[in-house]
Amino acid sequence: MNPRPDPNQLTAPDDGIARGGVLLDVKNVSLSFGGVKAITDISLDVLKGEIRAIIGPNGAGKTSMLNVINGFYTPQEGAIIFRGRERRSMKPHEAVGQGIARTFQNVALFKGMSTLDNIMAGRSVMMKRNIGWQMLWHGPALREEIEHREKVEEIIDFLEIQHIRRTPVGKLPYGLQKRVELGRALAMEPTLLLLDEPMAGMNLEEKEDMSRFIIDVNQQRGTTIALIEHDMGVVMDLSDRVVVLDYGKKIADGPPDEVKNNQDVIDAYLGVPH
């Protein structure tokens, strides 16, 4: 893969955190369901402008970690500091307002709606016109609709999905659904983008496309990305730093090369009796 520009050379687009500064800081978080511990005392940080990978064997707590970050689960212990502000619990829909968007392991699109509507739905938070104007479909409501439509069309162009604009997403092949889902997340204009196995179930060509989109999003839009992925080749090439989880605990954290040679990581993947 091509060498990445030094993150510190670029200036941050917004929110006052310099590129390379700490955007998200997860401190000593623990999460359990009844008696089952999903996450035990994990700390990790995500720097502004980087691509951060979270890897680990099945059941390591990766998806739970994303769910904690965007507020779907509230951890029993620990703190989450996003953009310098600490929060304990919040509703998932508030996470979007703060600039966190995500995609899902099993595609979670709105199956009955078209590609266009799915991506437009990602902009719901930004649309404000009340029901009165909506009823008339004139004036502010129509202007707003068109304004956002233009933004959405940019995303559609970017992801090269113009031809499926009007197709109900339930009828699309899996690879395209993943792409539409990325489009919906992008429509939210997030500061931090969480991707849960963006390449699961894809063939090589689709993986290459998706990798290109992820890098472009990161570099052109300056979006910070945290992703979970099982394809080690992809992870090692894409990410700036990797954190490895196993049985809900953090076992390694650092640049890809360092993690690759870590003995604990090798044990976790090859299976050493616990």
Binding site: A108, F110, S124, M127, I131, E145, R149
Partner: protein, 358 residues
């Protein structure tokens, strides 16, 4: 051939967001409106107005209200009849307390009462999902009908326990009550239905409609793209119950002329539900198609055998009617679970491609 969309290019998003991006759709609607506003009134008999045209419109409106909730926002409701009742009783109280009030205002306001009750019984939807939610709407159904019977203030302590629509004038023309002519009532209902349908189309295709559909298709994902589940669900209950309430007010004031509490019992709820399902959940057009079918069916069953010289007594017609509706529902679900509206969409698609098969 008639439905050729080739050559109709959109040069702006504004044009793409028009009510009918395809010219032929607008033309077709124009034809239907001409029939509704000019040709039917010129040709229809008193019986046709009262037995077919007016009920079709009112049931369509009720189904439209239900469809907003069930078809668009995905919240199953079995209590439509009771919410229609709230609209009707609210309108009755408004008219009798303020006799000077314009009937349009009274009907528009009565919708707010049913909307408020709808939101109240919609609150459990924040915790309860799917079939479990049906119980909340059934609770509303049985409780409200019981209340209509027991709370004498609602029907002004009439000995009969029924509400009776007085003669109501608007601009010197009697629009409701025993003296009103069928044709004025038809026009009145038609106008209300047209206006509300126009609003409903706009709401369902814009931001709010997308929010509802997102909640319907996958509520967790909807929440994670920033949609406030509570607000969207309650808004769906509000809008839906408003429309249903208005349909209820029209039902009594512009059609039945009088009503007892049990008129709003569960059979009414189911009839409206069938219309929405047979017409097509998540469609506006479907409500009208479904209503035409359900209203026309008993008339047809009653008259066809007679035309062949086989007289049927009214109980027999009633039994056959129920049986056939049951069978029809099953048949429709098997043939096309998405209802008559999808049927039409498929036919339209064929027309657009005609004469090519694909």
């Amino acid at each position: 051939m008639f439905y050729r969309t080739a050559g109709q290019f959109k040069t702006s998003y504004q044009a793409d967001h028009a009510l009918f991006p395809v010219r032929q759709d607008a033309f077709l609607l124009g034809v239907i409106l001409i029939f509704a506003f000019v040709i039917f009134p010129l040709t229809a008999s008193e019986f046709t107005f009262r037995a077919l045209l007016i009920p079709v419109l009112i049931y369509s409106l009720a189904a439209l209200g239900l469809n907003i909730l069930t078809g668009y926002a995905g919240q199953l409701s079995l209590g439509t009849g009771a919410f229609m009742g709230v609209g009707a009783y609210a309108c009755y109280k408004l008219i009798t307390i303020f006799p000077e009030m314009n009937i349009v205002v009274a009907i528009a306001m009565s919708g707010f009462f049913s909307a408020a009750i709808g939101v109240l019984f919609g609150l459990p939807s924040l915790r309860i999902k799917g079939f479990y939610l049906a119980i909340a709407t059934l609770a509303a159904q049985f409780f409200l009908v019981w209340l209509f019977q027991k709370w004498a203030w609602l029907y002004n302590y009439n000995a009969s326990g029924a509400i009776q629509v007085p003669n109501i004038e608007m601009f010197g023309i009697t629009v409701a009550g025993p003296r009103a002519t069928a044709i004025t009532q038809y026009y009145f209902v038609l106008c209300v239905v047209c206006v509300i349908t126009f609003f409903a189309i706009n709401i369902t295709r814009g931001r709010i409609g997308r929010m509802w559909k997102a909640v319907r298709d996958m509520d967790i994902a909807a929440e994670l793209v920033g949609i406030n589940l509570m607000r969207s669900k309650l808004m769906a209950f509000f809008v839906s119950s408003y429309v249903v309430g208005i349909a209820g007010a029209l039902f009594v004031f512009l059609w039945r002329g009088a009503a007892e509490a049990n008129l709003f019992d569960i059979p009414l709820s189911f009839r409206v539900l069938f219309i929405a399902i047979i017409g097509g959940l998540g469609s506006i057009l479907g409500n009208f198609l479904g209503a035409i079918l359900i209203v026309a069916l008993p008339v047809i069953i009653g008259s066809v055998p007679q035309a062949f010289g086989i007289p049927l007594d009214s109980a027999m017609v009633e039994h056959l009617n129920i049986m056939i509706i049951g069978a029809l529902i099953i048949a429709f679900l098997i043939i096309e679970p998405h209802g008559l509206a999808r049927f039409w969409a498929m036919i339209r698609e064929k027309f657009i491609l005609w004469p090519f098969p694909h």
